[in-house]
Amino acid sequence: MTSVTPEAPQLDGPAEKPAVGGPRRSPADELKGHLQAYTARVRGGDMGSLPAALGLVVLCAVFGTLRPAFLTAGNFANLFTQGAVITTIAMGLIFVLLLGEIDLSAGFASGVAGAVLAVTLTKHGWPLPVALAATIVTGVVIGLVLGTLVARVGIPSFVVTLGGFLAFQGVVLIIIGQGGNIPITNETVLAIQNNNLSPALGWVLFALVAAGYAATRVLVARSRRRKGLDTEPLVVSAVKVAGVVAITAAAVAVLNEERSRNVMVVSLKGVPIVVPVIVVLLALGTFVLGYTRYGLHIYAVGGNAEAARRAGIKVARIRTSVFVICSTMAAVAGIFAASRANSVDPNAGGSNTLLYAVGAAVIGGTSLFGGRGRIVDAVVGGAVVAVIDNGMGLLGYSSGVKFVVTGLVLVVAAGVDALSRRRAAASGA
């Protein structure tokens, strides 16, 4: 769904009702209207993250039954650190996908950024902030080049980023050297994917996030009610907030369990540090896309570029900027990947990284045709991809089978996207 408000569009009751200042409807009517609008939206092909969320539940049930090890706290924590890289790349990709463009080079862009981090930190001994800045700037520059070639020169993004895919792979190889491997020794970088928050800090952050989430919803609803506008029925808001809070609380509780095999040697518990980092990125991305003029203009350009241009939107600038965001997010993912692998090798960001990231976005509900998608799709879809990869690994399948299955899931998700688009066209919704 692309509405800037987090709530679903709402049917306004009978048409004769005066548009402004009409009488309040009863809560039951409101709820009914809301549900009707939601059903209409799903029927019209806009299912958002719903299929992915359902799929996630099914996958977890299946893997949990077949391999009880899947449902352990240790493996649960694994899922987060495994999924962090592709989810972060997918978040950036969603900006590009919203314009109906693609960035095939995002995987290796993260590799280049990781290589820059490793070289500046380990080889040149730069201070961490400077090395991190160099890593991020690498992402920005890559995005500027790609975006300019697409938006100003007019080369299709598929071709530009396919070129980037090959070229950045070469750059990583040149920086690291064939067969080479640069270790990461910086404690702070390693901590991102290897250390955990203390259980107490985990609960404090949880409380902040839960309160912030609930407060935003209440504030938005209040300001709308004050103007006499439709609001999401209170029940629906309450259920949504309670659901999100409950799931998050459960996750924090599980992650706070002891998951060390030998507690005498080392204690291993708490929320992995990368999780709150992802939550911040998620909140930031949601804010930008859902609540700012810039985000709205991204949807507009993705929906109808010519209409956006006639509305005075600087289309080329928007187009360039999404590539900058995508490559910058890829650079952040490169830091996560380096932290997880404790090193950077010539294949950093290669192999299935990009495919998994695109898969995450599409599985999560972002359309490849542009104009539809949300940042949270990257998280839900990323979780699906991580669960498939992790669960099949536990079941002892080879990489080959995992690739085939993930590839198929991606195609199926893209198929659902294409079909729901056809359906939307047919139903006019």
Binding site: S3, V20, A40, R224, R293, N304, A305, E306, I313, A429
Partner: protein, 308 residues
Amino acid sequence: MTEPILSLRQVNKSFGPAHVLKDVDFNAYPGEVMALVGDNGAGKSTLTKCIGGIHPIDSGSYEFDGRPVRVHEPRDASALGIEIVYQDLALCDNLDIVQNMFLGREERSGMVLDRASMEERALQTLAGLSVRTVTSVRQRVASLSGGQRQTVAIARAVLWNSKVVILDEPTAALGVAQTKQVLDLVRRLADAGLAVILISHNMNDVLSVADRISALYLGRMAAEVRRADIDHTRIVELITTGRSGDLGLAPEQTGETGDPDATPAAGGSDPAGEADAIRPGDAIGPVVEPAGPAETPTATDTDDEVPA
């Protein structure tokens, strides 16, 4: 007599080899409805887009409120107070009604979009247009009927305190009642002092609401006349042949063979406008290239469109 608020002189516009607008003069007057008529492909929409800054004009002058202005992009036109309902409506299907109405001019409080106050204004505007069929302004435009979409596009144009409103075939998809609503709106806007330009193929609508009529014929302005000085038959003649009695283009301009020295007489009660529209001995030559689709290579329009 009233001075035009919008005045184009000798405007030319080509798309590659297709010369679509040829030395066009065009005016719009405050408080009046100017109907712009012409056959399919005559150049009405192109003229609209030139006024709106979608297509920059190749040559000619563009005056607004008596001052020469430069309109290179859509922002320039809206800054002048020109609002356009395009023939293709130019709506974003994936956005809802409010988002479309405010696109490019969103209200914000701080950095955040002020969704609530935009919605409030949108509701008021739609109520002012007596729109009854739209159930919620939070509905996506993709889910609207053709007529509802047209209504949204019109509502977007009247949302702003504009001075000139251009409606390119605004009633094409509308039912009888809604068409009447739009024509009433056109009248109300003009009575409120705006200059309204109405493009329509429906001569009854044109005759019922227009104060003046401009007729385009194959990219040339055949005539600008007052409504009172013309009737149905003569407009149709102007549209189909570019001429009607003492009105219209010289024979060599319409592509007819005729007396090359024939100087069309200025007629009607608007000699000034006429004299500008009719220029004997045109430099283009006696044969008017029909700007039909067959002669319009699609490749030529690429620099004007946003890459898809």
